[in-house]
Amino acid sequence: MATHGTAAGTRQKPGLGRVLHDTRYVFWREMLLPLRDPFSLVFSLLQPLVFLGLFGPLLGAAVGAPAFGGQSTLQWFLPGVVVMIALFGTSMTGSNLQYELMTGSYERILATPLSRSSLMIGRALKEWAPLVVQGLLIALVCIPFGFVFYPLHVLFGLVILGIFGIGLGALSYALALVSQNKEWIFWGVQQTLLFPLMILSGIMLPIEAGPAWMQTASLFNPLTYLVNAERELFAGSVGTDTLLGLLAASVTAAVGLAVGVKAISRNIR
């Protein structure tokens, strides 16, 4: 329901310290779910391995080595898988919220002093957190198959994905709010956007192998810069791609949080 808000501009903005403090508790509450039911974590750890094991060999055989800029297929593909997990995970942030919107638990938490942005950041980071374990695990598993592991670079890459995940998670959160009572809209929009974004970023197949219009379209996709940054970092170097990726992630986070905070204050019945 749309509302006339008047005094929004006069509201006190919570400081960064407050947001970080609150985020910690929102994150911790969400983390209690997988921690109390650790079996769900096992599956989320296995999924990327299955994907990597089945899709990786096909990719190398179908596209051929020259498209990967001289890297091994694995070295090229693994960062893409990590970005993909981040994409799937954090874009689901709103789906867990949908259950809480149906009961009163979203409203109950809204009535606490928690800052609005911490509600989104905490939830988005919960979707991102398993990625740290997943990312490191698949990197380790791939070492025997010729993958060269640069731990610090990979960690930095995961941090960039976390920043991006906050933005995407906040957008997903906002989407869940606007599609309240019409849950199918959430899934429709999420799925419709996810696949073009993914394909146009060169996660699964090198975009350089595609037609010119696809390459142009990929330039407007923040995910492209993110994937390039991850590839550079996973290859053990820090350069322009990393900076552009960090920038794309930061812009996504800023836009996502702005949209999300607006959605929270507009959407309350």
């Binding site: 329901m1 749309a2 509302t3 006339h4 808000g5 008047t6 005094a7 929004a8 006069t10 509201r11 006190q12 919570p14 609150d22 508790y25 911790w28 509450r29 209690l32 779910l33 109390r36 039911d37 259950y99 809480e100 009961t103 009163g104 638990s105 409203e107 109950r108 938490i109 809204l110 009535a111 606490t112 002093p113 928690l114 800052s115 204050s265 309350i268 019945r269």
Partner: protein
């Protein structure tokens, strides 16, 4: 504890403007127990949501627990407790985890939060269910958990939105017992909305009747009933002597309607008598003196439903759409 000045809320639904709350002035002193009573859609919950900062007022001002709701909503939220219409516990979470996290959200440390959670679970008869997931609780247990969530940080002011809707009488009584005990122990100020008139009547000291977004009455339930409704009196006299008291009863009703039915040689008069319990004995004597002694008498105290009917011409249950 609460002071509002022309607090109003306008919604736009499908390009149509709906004035949900049309400028209400409310003052609540510390320690009061106040009920907002009105039919569904009257604006009670919208008012409550503005006071709890869940909605931004369209115009007007409100200070809650000393803090302005538009200038510092987080400050208001830190000082109040809110128990909404729905169930506050997340389905897949454990009861104790939700309570402890709720305490953390309000800035309690983990030791205090755990101690407080255990204390509340004990006093709300939920101690055995601490490690149960919320989805496995019964309706009554969930509602008690909602109360526990709302009381975690021991707020000085507690808002309850339709606290007992959908509960069976036993669970309702149980819930109220807990709320009243908390109030006795901590002097908590309580503001609730309800469309159960008996709940407003028996539980609260002060009733604010809201209809079509406006406050139409604000007083103790006893005074509202005495001033606006009056007791319902039914007396029976022998048919032969009925003519002798018709005028007398008409005057007693002070302009109100007097209805009569006759059956088996008896006429039954029904009328509203303000302060009926005090006036009825004298009326009986007068009837006796007029040669028409009452053969039976029934005196029914008014309900808040009668008050609402008197104020609006509608029954509370008919809703706000007329």
């Amino acid at each position: 504890m609460i002071h509002t000045d022309k607090l109003a809320k306008t919604f736009t639904v499908k390009k149509e403007t709906v004035e949900a709350v049309k400028g209400v002035d409310i003052d609540v002193a510390p320690g009061e127990l106040v009920a907002f009573l009105g039919p569904n859609g009257a604006g009670k919950s919208t008012t409550l949501r503005m006071l709890t900062t869940l909605l931004t007022p369209t115009s007007g001002t409100a200070r809650v627990a000393g803090v302005d709701v538009t200038a510092d909503p987080a400050g208001v939220r830190a000082r109040i407790g809110y128990i909404g219409q729905g169930n506050g516990g997340g389905h897949s979470f454990r009861v104790i985890d939700e309570l402890v996290m709720q305490g953390r959200f309000y800035g309690m440390n983990s030791v205090d939060a755990l101690a407080r959670a255990r204390e509340l679970l004990q006093s709300l008869d939920l101690a055995d269910l601490a490690k149960r997931t919320v989805v496995k609780l019964s309706g009554g247990q969930r509602r008690r958990m909602d109360v526990a969530l709302g009381l975690m940080h021991s707020p000085q002011l507690l808002f309850l939105d339709e606290p007992s809707t959908g509960m069976d009488p036993q669970n309702r009584a149980n819930l109220w017992e807990h709320i009243m005990r908390m109030r006795e122990e901590h002097g908590t100020t309580i503001v609730l909305t309800t469309h159960y008139m008996d709940e407003a009547d028996s539980m609260s000291e002060r009733v604010i009747i809201i209809d079509h977004g406006r406050i139409i009455a604000d007083d103790t339930a006893a005074r509202l009933k005495a001033n606006l409704a009056g007791d319902l009196l039914a007396v029976e006299v022998a048919a032969a002597s009925a003519a002798g008291v018709r005028g007398l009863l008409g005057r007693a009703a002070a302009g109100g309607e007097v209805t009569e039915n006759s059956y088996d040689g008896v006429v039954r008069f029904r009328l509203r008598l303000p302060e009926g319990a005090r006036l009825a004995p004298a009326l009986l004597l007068e009837m006796h003196d007029a040669g028409a002694p009452a053969q039976s008498l029934e005196l029914k105290p008014p309900t808040l439903d009668d008050v609402f009917l008197e104020l609006t011409g509608r029954n509370l249950r008919e809703g706000a759409n007329r």
